[in-house]
């Protein structure tokens, strides 16, 4: 039973070794020429314009929360689609109930204006 997890363990070990090896190796052989731009948290893209410990708009939280809900819906749809034929009408009805409940939530969220950004 546990043997089945051996490949995962090996993969984890390799990934860890690779990550640690890369850091150590570059520290050992790499050249260091630090500059202001290089030491910034994000070396490419937008220049910094303030601290990260700021208050965020509540909109981000709402979107993130809704994302999780509908994300989970999709996660449940995948195994159902794989077993669709074998589960037959039973699975169809069960998923129907599930999707209807989420749909009610979706309509509610939409009408409530939680999906509008401004």
């Amino acid at each position: 039973m546990l043997d089945n997890y051996l490949p995962i363990l090996v993969l984890v070990a390799i990934a860890f070794a690779f990550a640690a090896g890369s850091v150590v190796f570059s520290r050992l052989v790499g050249q260091k020429k630090p500059s202001v731009v290089k030491l910034a948290p994000y070396e490419c893209g937008m220049p910094l314009f303030g601290t990260a410990r700021d208050r965020f708009s509540i909109k981000f939280y709402i979107i993130a929360m809704l994302f999780i809900v509908f994300d989970i819906e999709v996660v449940f749809l995948y195994p159902w689609s794989v077993m669709f034929k074998r589960l037959g009408m039973f699975g169809f009805a069960e998923m129907g109930v599930f999707i209807v409940i989420l749909f009610v939530g979706y309509v509610y969220v939409w009408k409530k204006g939680a999906l509008e950004w401004e």
């Binding site: 074998r86 589960l87 037959g88 039973f90 699975g91 409940i101 009610v104 939530g105 309509v107 509610y108 009408k111 409530k112």
Partner: protein, 488 residues
């Protein structure tokens, strides 16, 4: 695979969860009706939720008339008399709460349509707790119940106290749920099942497991989780703040419905799952019952805010209910059921009068605000007196009959001292309940109470509560027979 589907289909039995199913459907419909209605119009939503509760009541009645226990969802749910009796309590609590809510919410400036849907959802959760025969189902019900309540407690967004109530309830509730789940996990580790009855059978077949520290730890942690919800001392710290900060109808609801739900689940687990450990949990609950009654009553004495006073008194009442659980005999257990029903009527009734007497912004809830109230508002004054008499436990009210059965159970089981401490505590509680009446009738009125309107819903709710209190007090036999049929 085909067999699996067949087996799953055969196990699903919708008639076992019909009442809660109706509530959930109505709750979802109300959410949609709410967003499609004009802002600030919630009266029709309140009445639709009442219709939903009436239909739920009809299904509950059908379940009661049907003598067979309905099992459903692979033995996760059992709609037995016990569950049906508690369903009646939940429906009464939710119905009375909704009736007093509409006018109050408009007065306070929060006509929120989701309020009613959340009450229906939490009532459905309470029903799953009472009918759940598997620790996971009970946990699911507890979460549905609690999450709705966290939101309801913090409903008044611009009120700091309400925010505090919501956050405090959420954090401590989540924490206590952790305890509960830890207990479930340990008991599962011992017995290899989460089914309550199977745990009981395993423990009676394997006496060695009884001495296993894991079993005891599981029992204690599980109890801790429930005792947080029932607000048993020393897990009561959140109660006064949450009860004071939450919207008053929600306070009324929280102290009746969810408390009864937690007691129902606790009772079922102790009586079915852990009867072999009666000596252990009996001793534990004996001590906690004494503590809860005493602490609740004595701190209530020093309160000047009536809402907060009722919060402490609800802690004390949970202690009285625990007395029946310690006794764990027929009279004591059916006494708990009876007591919870009586408490629902008297407590929500008292809160209903409190809501009508209050001003916008939750003001005028202090003792001084009730000076001369009884003369200026005779009907409300008399009603509040009846509810307070019932909370004290004086005949001929429901509170007397309830306390009588609970304490009689304790005496019958040999817990004489527990009954004596309980009665002494009732005597202590006379002081702070009577003080309200003294203010109402023996102080010169400073206000003319002209702001009090008498909305239909609240009046209906007070009349129903009055009827319930007096009926249960004067003719206790009929309901007591029902309660006796409801215990195992």
């Amino acid at each position: 695979m085909e067999n699996l589907v067949q087996a799953a289909l055969a196990n699903v039995n919708f008639s076992a969860i019909m009442p809660s199913l109706v509530l959930v459907c109505f709750g979802m419909a109300l959410l949609l009706i709410g967003v499609f209605s004009r802002r600030g119009r919630t009266t029709h939503i309140a009445w639709i939720s009442i219709i939903g509760l009436v239909i739920t009541g009809i299904y509950t009645y059908i379940d009661w008339v049907n003598p067979e226990t309905q099992f459903g969802f692979a033995g996760h749910v059992a709609q037995d008399n016990f569950a049906v009796f508690f369903n009646i309590i939940f429906i009464a609590a939710a119905g009375l709460t909704i009736l007093i809510s509409d006018d109050y919410l408009k007065r306070e400036g929060y006509p929120i349509s989701e309020y009613y849907a959340l009450i229906l959802f939490s009532t459905a959760g309470a029903m799953w707790m009472a009918s759940g025969t598997d620790l996971m189902t009970i946990f699911l019900g507890l979460e549905v119940l609690s999450i709705s309540l966290y939101v309801l407690a913090g409903m008044f967004r611009n009120d700091v106290r309400s925010n505090e109530a919501g956050l405090k309830y959420f954090l401590l509730g989540a924490f206590s749920t952790g305890f509960l789940l830890y207990g479930v996990a340990l008991l599962y580790g011992v017995a290899g099942t989460t089914n309550v009855a199977d745990i009981g059978m395993y423990l009676s077949a394997h006496k060695a497991a009884l001495g296993n520290p894991m079993t005891i730890a599981g029992m204690v942690l599980l109890s801790t989780g429930f005792m947080f919800k029932i607000a048993i001392v020393p897990f009561h710290m959140w109660t006064p703040d949450v009860y004071q900060g939450a919207p008053t109808p929600i306070t009324a609801f929280m102290s009746a419905g969810p408390k009864a739900a937690a007691i129902a689940a606790f009772l079922r687990i102790l009586m079915f799952g852990l009867p072999e450990l009666h000596a252990e949990w009996g001793a534990m609950l004996w001590l906690l019952a004494v503590l809860t009654m005493t602490v609740g009553n004595f701190i209530a004495i020093s309160q000047t805010n009536i809402k907060r006073m009722l919060a402490y008194s609800s802690i004390a009442h949970a202690g009285y209910a625990l007395v029946g659980l310690v006794a764990a005999n027929e009279v004591g257990l059916s006494g708990i059921l009876y007591y919870m029903l009586a408490y629902t009527f008297m407590n929500i009734g008292a809160f209903a009068v409190l809501i009508l007497a209050g001003k916008q912004g939750e003001e005028n809830l202090t003792l001084d605000g009730f000076a001369g109230f009884g003369y200026k508002r005779p009907f409300l004054g008399v009603a509040l007196c009846v509810f307070l008499f019932s909370l004290m436990g004086l005949p001929p009210t429901a509170g007397f009959a309830g306390k009588f059965y609970v304490f009689a159970g304790a005496v019958k089981a040999g817990y004489i001292w527990l009954a004596i401490i309980g009665v002494l505590n009732s005597a202590v509680s006379l002081y702070y309940y009577l003080r309200v009446m003294v203010y109402m009738y023996f102080r010169e009125p400073t206000e003319d109470y002209s702001w009090i309107s008498m909305p239909v819903g609240a009046v209906i709710s007070i009349v129903i509560a009055l009827f319930g209190v007096l009926y249960l007090g004067l003719l206790p036999d009929c309901v007591m027979e029902m309660a006796k049929m409801s215990i195992f």
